[in-house]
Amino acid sequence: MTGEGNAIIWKRQNLRELPKFRDGTGYLYLEHTRLEQDGRSIQAFHPDGMVTIPVASLGVLLLGPGSTVSHSAMKAMSDTGCSVLWVGEQGVRLYASGVGEARGSVRLQRQARLWAHPKSHLRVVRQMYAMRFPEGLPQGLTLQQIRGREGARVRDAYARYSRAHGVKWTERKYNRANWDDATPINKALSSGTSCLYGLAHAAILSCGYSPGLGFIHTGKQLSFVYDVADLYKLEVVLPTAFREAARGPDELDRRVRQGLRDHMTNLRLLERMANDLLTLLDDHHEEDGDDDDVGDLWDPDGDVAGGVNHAGDDA
């Protein structure tokens, strides 16, 4: 529990392992459109003309109200690993998604192993928390203490951006039934967060992991999406959301999405997400236990060691 367990072991990344997700572009938001396949191209209707969408290099397509997608277009997007998120009005709700470009299940199996084993599960949780503290976490904190520090870090970040941009901050709150009830800053945060969730989701699928097997969050189909998005939320969404909320309510969600695009490019977010996922789940860690463990032999009086000859003198 305590001790050297929370040190990050940085391993040099084999660049060829990185999926093409990091080389692509992030997201595109479309609404009141019709997506269909023409020849091999995916085209969307826009009042100005038919727009060809480079789906293979796109991480997520956010489809807003009034969107229609043909079956062949959906299939093409699924084949090229472009995740499709159906988002509600102003991009608040996340309804569904397609599959990523991973076809093998090696990483999924590895994630499941890490998830199922308490020792490795704890290692991943600690490492995820440690990634949020650039100054590092002191050795020997309990999980509860770490959560306390994380809570303080989040509260401070909101307070800091609130002061810096002169936007009053009370609480994170929105009413799903009535979007317009929310304060502008909450709207800005919601539309920024849905972009981030979409990207985290796409990164997870693209690397071949499961969004359902979360480490910090657990029990939801998107638990791991929340885990991954939380690694970057304060750094990615907050600055843009507060800055745009300070500039007024007109076309707020659109401005947040546009501002995020530049911010994410500067942060090299796609590359970092792919790297971080592989560092968290693919690197070998001594403390995770041996994958090639022989396993025990079941016995009514408790398991006995496997891999040894129990014949004794009778052999």
Partner: protein, 107 residues
């Protein structure tokens, strides 16, 4: 940079800076100033012709596009993402049924 239906001397002029890899397609690496000056020169002398310039920038896509004299294609900026819109038969067909969202009228 691509040129279509422009005076021959303009084509020749461009090859002083860029190489013509295919008819009307010019490639090269020049400074931002030279790139802009070449663009101005092309636009000024294109007459009824069409030209397009694509160059590297520090955006998410990594490049920017500009067009001149193009009738069928328009550049679209979708929240910072550059795409090209084409008006074709399919567009005309869909446009008939298109009803703009109500919010647009109030903007």
């Amino acid at each position: 940079m691509t040129l279509e239906k422009v005076p021959p001397s303009l084509r020749g002029e461009l090859t002083r800076w860029l190489i013509e890899v295919q008819t009307g397609v010019y490639v090269g690496r020049v400074s931002a100033t030279v790139r802009d000056l070449l663009w101005d020169k092309v636009v000024q002398h294109a007459r009824a012709g069409r030209c397009t310039q694509v160059y590297r920038t520090n955006t998410e896509q990594g490049f920017a596009i500009r067009m001149h004299g193009e009738q069928h294609r328009t550049l679209l900026d979708l929240e910072g993402y550059a795409l090209v819109a084409v008006r074709d038969a399919r567009h005309a067909e869909l446009m008939r049924d298109y009803q703009p969202p109500e919010e647009l009228e109030t903007l």
